[in-house]
Amino acid sequence: MNILELANLKKYFATQKAVDDISFKIGEGGIFGLLGPNGAGKTTLLRMITGIFYPDSGEITLRGRKFDPLNDSIHIGYMPEERGLYKKMKIGEQALYLARLKGLSKQDAMASIKKWFEKLEMETWWNKKVEDLSKGMSQKLQFVTTVLHEPKLIILDEPFSGLDPVNANLIKDEIFGLAKNGSTVIFSTHRMEQVEEICDHIVLVNKGKKILDGTVQQVKQDFKENIYRLGAKVLPEQLMTHIFEVVKHHPDHLLLRLKDDTQPNELLKYFISQGVNIQSFNEVLPSLNDIFIKLVEGTAATRQFQQVQ
């Protein structure tokens, strides 16, 4: 079953078509990446999924039923890109308050806070105030307050910004753990290396429209360019053939693009017949970064304002 389905979602602002007819489905469990350049409409999209904005048109279906922002907020945990906490409030009280606003009873909230504070080594923080925390620490706290009520759908907007590698890994492990326990994580970012590492399924939006949708593996297959890496010392005169073209020639390896009707075996046969000593051979799939740049490049780097009727 899909935990979340978006159908023809639209949200226009006075000068922007922020989200312009986007549809996709997210299966239960797993980690979903929502990618896009700055100003692509990611945050607006997430705000509609969290019930902060109402879509102009289109439908959101959560767990098989029409999304009801008021009653479904217990199932959703949202960590916005701009972190927000009450600076003057004690950390323990703040966590309790936010959890209870989600609908948890006081006992449940306390138990959950205790569990998470222990897990992330935050027990001593209870009576501190948010203004006493460093940026990374408050980030950790923000993450904890997002998942305290064990939501089925967790939405994280740039969760790692401002975290050092140790704490980033800590949070990353928690995200994997949550996904393993059946929660679905929507993860919005423009840091592609994190996406490749974490996400199962991605959607790429640009200028308010969806331009890519699929699993990470599938997307890479779709965008591969038949490029292979051959680890071998090759002389230039050994490259005189029509079955491939050379993309790059390094002293100890080659990047080659195969012609469409050629199989990798033919290429290996050719080099073996040339008497080349092959040390390694593998296909080079494009990185998400390359795909991202390829798709987004050429469109204006920043969105222009336009009049929306």
Binding site: R47, I76, R83, G84, K88, M89, R100
Partner: protein
């Protein structure tokens, strides 16, 4: 509803638990009490230093000064000096000042001059004027062939008592007390509306700039967030009132215990001026008891809540559209403060003339009625006016809350440029 309760609780307790809340709540009445104590102490003690004033009487106005040395002034007649010659000497002879009386006609008493080291106080000039007036009057009486002593006997000095006949019997009314109570109620509502309205605005702006608003709005409706904040802060205001009232009573009871001396001094009312003070306290108590206290208390709470709620929602809307820049807030707040200040101005008029057209209008118009109506409350207000005024206020509060909630909902998630009034109105009347 449960969520609003949680928000109200947080807004209330974070403020009440703050040290500054305790400090202001307890210090303000202490300062007021201390102020009164100081006034009482000064008035009991009086001024020890007698002002010595010399008199150069070229007009032969004064015959002797044996009986005209008043409380704090002693006058002495100086002979064989002129105004010029004595100006240089009076300081060395230990006088605080001297009065120069020129030769004058009894029908046209002009040309009196009071010389002093520094500018003379109001008390001094009035005391000097008093003895001159009395001397001139005596001279005129004698010129008419009348005995000044006989005149003193026949001169009348009447006190008028006003009795208000209401259903529960006749009571002595004291206009001054009614006036003071009205004014105090009006000014208190005026201050509370501004102080707590501004707190709402600051709280909203803080949530917006801290970006907590986005987290909150993913759990609760913006309307709940706004209403919770307004109610929570309003409850802080009521708590402050309650603490003040309790403190006042406690201190009033405690003063005689702590300073038994003060009360004794007051009750040893041998001196004439203290007698007057004492009887003033009696009339004040009588005056207060003649007022419809239950009605005043009820109206006060009603109009405080009505006025606060109406304005707080507007302050919340303003808080939601500004970002860090306090300057922006100032500009937007001004149009909201205008009717409050207008209400205050009308109130000062309404106290003097509680049934004038302006006063009636001001106490019905919901943006000024909380302040103006309190200014009229000690007077007899027709029942329909009170009822209409309250209904209009409730209607106004509902309308403004509805309007403000729509601005607030959009504003709290907007960053960057401050929206214009036109844009805000667009948000307010936009559908959904």
């Amino acid at each position: 509803m449960n969520k609003i309760g949680l928000i109200v609780g947080r807004e209330y307790f974070t403020r009440v638990k703050k040290k500054s809340f305790l400090v202001t709540t307890i210090l303000v009445p202490l300062v007021i009490i201390g102020f009164y104590a100081a006034i009482i102490a000064i008035s009991i003690k009086g001024s020890d230093e007698k002002q010595k004033i010399a008199v150069i009487d070229e007009g032969n106005l004064f015959t002797n000064f044996n009986d005209s040395s008043q409380n704090n002034f002693s006058f002495r007649l100086i002979k064989n000096e002129t105004e010029q010659s004595f100006t240089k000497k009076y300081k060395d002879q230990g006088f605080d000042g001297f009065l120069y009386v020129p030769a004058f006609e009894i029908d046209k008493p002009v040309g009196f001059v009071l010389h002093s080291k520094s500018s003379a106080s109001l008390a001094t000039t009035s005391a000097v004027e008093k003895i001159i007036n009395k001397a001139v009057r005596d001279k005129r009486l004698q010129a008419q062939g009348l005995d000044p002593k006989a005149y003193e006997k026949i001169a009348a000095d009447v006190d008028l008592v006003n009795t208000v006949d209401s259903k529960d019997g006749s009571k002595k009314s004291v206009a001054a007390v009614a006036y003071i109570v009205s004014f105090a109620c009006g000014i208190l509502i005026y201050m509370m509306m501004i102080v707590y309205g501004t707190q709402v605005m600051r709280g909203v702006t803080e949530e917006k700039t801290n970006r907590i608003a986005e987290v909150m709005v993913s759990s609760v409706k913006p309307f709940q967030l706004m209403v919770g904040k307004i109610i929570g802060i309003g409850a802080v205001g009521l708590t402050q009132f309650a603490i003040w009232i309790i403190l006042m009573f406690m201190l009033q009871m405690a003063i005689p215990l702590i300073f038994p001396g003060i009360m004794e001094q007051v009750s040893q009312a041998g001196v004439a001026s203290q007698q007057a003070g004492n009887s003033m306290a009696v009339t004040a108590i009588q005056g207060i008891s003649s007022l419809p206290l239950a009605k005043i208390a009820f109206s006060f709470i009603f109009y405080f809540l009505g006025g606060y709620l109406t304005y707080a929602s507007m302050f919340a809307a303003i808080g939601s559209v500004v970002s860090e820049d306090q300057q922006e807030a100032q500009q937007l707040v001004f149009p909201v403060l205008m009717p409050i200040i207008l209400g205050f101005v009308i109130m000062t008029k309404a106290i003097n003339d509680p049934n004038s057209n302006l006063a009636v209008f001001g106490s019905l118009f919901p943006l000024t009625s909380p302040i103006v109506m309190m200014g009229r409350i000690t007077y007899d207000i027709p029942g329909w006016q009170l009822a209409l005024s309250m209904l209009l206020l409730i209607g106004c509060f509902l309308f403004f809350t509805w309007l403000a909630a729509k601005i607030y909902r959009t504003g709290i998630l907007m960053y960057g440029k401050k929206p214009s009034w036109k844009e805000m109105l667009k948000w307010a009347f936009a559908r959904s």
